[in-house]
């Protein structure tokens, strides 16, 4: 454009030059043309500079535009797909063959796969989560194993209530205790503590509603309450209206300087059981079935303390946790005849895990239960009533290539069954694919 202007100017100028036909005029005209050329070149340069600046400005402005409409967002209908992650967990386990594994002195909660030895792909967890709309967020966790897919969790959570209130409904892991809300892949040992196995089989979840309130104080104070179906051990599924299980808890926590943080909690869980069956042994040594109907009240106290130099857990950190439970069950036990049944049992565990490099961690866990007071009423005349203190000590070391992969070796000396000392070795892997999940404190 500019060039053609210059040429046009030159043409006009040369026409004028011919018309005049004078040498002196020619020199003057040439000088004029040179001036014009210079003038145009300067203007062209100025225009080009302006263009470059404008381009730079658009380049700078672009990301802001990109942010409001990210490239993926225009990709089509799948752009609203939820965050997906898949957790692969597998084990190689060596231990004694005990067909009906249980915990002596405790009503069996039925720990799934407790006697599985050798290689196993364990459970594969599929996690799907997304914001539903500005008001709700949803999450589902499906645990898949051979021939089954269990809905571990399927809930929605409030985002827009405010005032420190959190509402959750659906199937969820109860907020009682400390370890209960953690999924197996987030735990520091390959198996749940004996205390959780005795209390819930592994952990307690139910279908229902959870309401939490966080106090507006610099100190973390959280209250929670749950109402639910209460279908899982120690409750049973009952065909009735209303709630079968309820829980209340309070959590308090804070930091101590930059390097330490802690949380303590106290929880209460009440469930009802109706014909909760289990095997008992009669005085002749034969197995007989008993069914319990009644109330179960569990109290839990938990404490967690974490330390990291300057609060930077990446290179070194230490985590100590301990929980205690006490449970009272009151009701009727039917074997051949119905009679009163009342137990008060307790247990605790304490564990410490030290991460000494970004990749390596090592941990110790010690746990003990007390079969406590077991009053079988009239049934006591015909059944073996064990009194025992199950114990277990575990040591583990694990290696993480990144935040998403971990290999763990664990040794445990398990004395949870009277008369048996089981030396257990477990090699476990945990691999997380997909969305970067965040773990609770």
């Amino acid at each position: 454009m500019q060039k053609s202007l210059v040429i046009a100017a030159l043409l006009t100028a040369s026409c004028a030059a011919q018309a005049v036909g004078n040498d002196a005029d020619l020199v003057a005209i040439r000088a004029q043309i040179d001036d014009m050329k210079k003038n145009y070149e300067q203007r062209i340069a100025a225009l080009e500079e302006k263009l470059v600046q404008a381009e730079a400005r658009t380049a700078q402005a672009q990301p802001v535009v990109v942010e409001t409409a990210p490239p993926q967002a225009s990709a089509g209908a799948n752009s609203f797909n939820p965050e997906v992650s898949l957790i692969l967990q597998g084990k190689l386990r060596q231990m004694k063959d005990v067909p009906s594994r249980g915990i002596t002195g405790f009503f069996p909660a039925g720990v799934e796969g407790a006697n599985k030895r050798g290689f196993s792909a364990d459970e594969t967890e599929l996690v799907l989560a997304a914001n539903v709309d500005p008001y709700w967020r949803g999450q589902a966790i499906v645990a898949m194993a051979d021939g089954q897919a269990n809905i571990e969790e399927a809930w929605f959570q409030s985002l827009a209530i405010g005032h420190g209130i959190g509402l959750k409904a659906g199937r969820f892991r109860s907020g009682i205790g400390y370890l209960n809300e953690q999924h197996p892949h987030a735990r520091d040992f390959a198996d749940a503590p004996l205390m959780y196995q005795a209390m819930f089989g592994d952990s307690y979840s139910q279908d229902g509603v959870q309401l939490k309130w966080l106090a507006p104080t610099p100190l973390f104070v959280e209250f929670g309450g749950e109402l639910g179906r209460g279908a899982n051990f120690p409750g049973t599924d009952r065909n009735r209206n209303g709630a079968g299980g309820s829980a209340l808890y309070v959590h308090v926590g804070d930091d101590l300087g930059f390097s330490n943080s802690w949380r303590v909690g106290l929880s209460w869980l009440k469930t009802r059981a109706s014909d909760r069956t289990a095997d008992f042994t009669d005085l002749g040594g034969a197995t007989v079935q008993g069914a319990f109907t009644g109330d179960s009240t569990t109290w839990l106290a938990d404490f967690v303390w974490k330390w990291a130099p300057n609060g930077n857990p990446k290179y070194q950190n230490l985590k100590f946790q301990s929980e205690y439970f006490s449970r009272e069950e009151k009701g009727l036990l039917t074997v051949t005849d119905e009679s009163a049944y009342r137990t008060r049992q307790s247990g605790w565990y304490a564990q410490g895990v030290y991460q000494f490099t970004p990749e390596w961690r090592a941990g110790l866990r010690y746990e003990q239960l007390d079969s406590g007071k077991r009053d079988f009423g009239a049934n006591a005349a015909g059944l073996v009533v064990d009194s025992y203190r199950p114990k277990k000590a575990s040591a583990m070391v694990d290696y993480s290539w990144s935040e998403f992969s971990r290999l763990r070796l664990q040794y445990a000396q398990d004395k949870s069954m009277a008369g048996i000392t089981d030396n257990q070795w477990t090699l476990q892997y945990i691999m997380s694919l997909g969305a970067h999940g965040a773990h609770k404190f």
Binding site: A59, Q60, Q62, P63, V64, E67, P70, N131, P134, R137, Q157, L159, A160, I161, G162, H163, G164, I165, G166, K212, W213, L214, A215, P216, T217, P218, L219, F220, V221, E222, H251, V252, G253, D254, D255, F258, S261, W262, R263, K306, N310, G311, N312, P313, K314, Y315, T357, P358, E359, W401, S402, E403, F404, L433, H436, A438, H439, K440, F441
Partner: protein
Amino acid sequence: MRQLFTLIFLLVVAVLPAHADLRVFATVPEWGALVREIGGDKVQVYVATSALQDPHRIEARPSLLAQARQANLVVAAGAELEVGWLPLVLRDSGNAAIQPGQPGNFSAATYVSRLEVPSVLDRANGDVHAAGNPHIHLDPRNVLKVGEALTARLAELDPAQAAAYRNGFKTFSGKWQAAIVRWEKEAAPLRGVPVLVHHSSFVYLANWLGIKEVGTLEPKPGIEPTSNHLMALLSRQQTQPARMVLRTAYQQDGPSQWIAGKTGIPAVMLPYTVGGTPEAKDLFGLFDDTVQRLLKGLR
């Protein structure tokens, strides 16, 4: 029971009006410092992390939940820097105002052009961020852009003090622009200087000052340096020599000291953010000290 409710009610009422100031929860020290520059005494700033903490690896501690619960505005770096903890803190805070998409949720990275935006998302490339490199604050021109957006956000949330925020930003912006000119002049000898870095924490700094990043000690983002990778960097030093090796205050010094010992180039610890060194007391101190430490490394 009724007494308990009365007590709780009184507690809430007692707590609420005591904090008329805008309460800001900043995830990282640099943005906390910027809010202070703009908001002055009109804002109450809580900074969730320190310069000695890796902002990628923070736990959703109870104290963070308690602070987020009371915040009117969360100022985050964004670009997935805090993906491992902030979403959980926001959701469990019971605070509707600071949820993503609300005016009370501000992500700094949204307002600048980001570098290293990956074309392929695959964890085989390490802990990459889909939205690009999130360490945007080490280019002071970005600080200005974020500051402008932040001022608008503060004014939106607290209209009564809007003028104060605008004045605060105007004062800051004037001083900051003058400082940029000074830093650029001082840092002129750094142009074209090849460096090694521990993690790609200094991409924006390098881009601004024309420093040439020739390698990272981490084999992949988020994966700790391995001896094989360090050996490879060492042999590359013959053909593509770096002049210094940079790390942040929160990164381990071992790997960069090892490189320094083998090659004789200086290992330079940069404050990275406010509070990373005693000199980096505020944003100005952060850049003053960063430039000085780089120049010292060059000598």
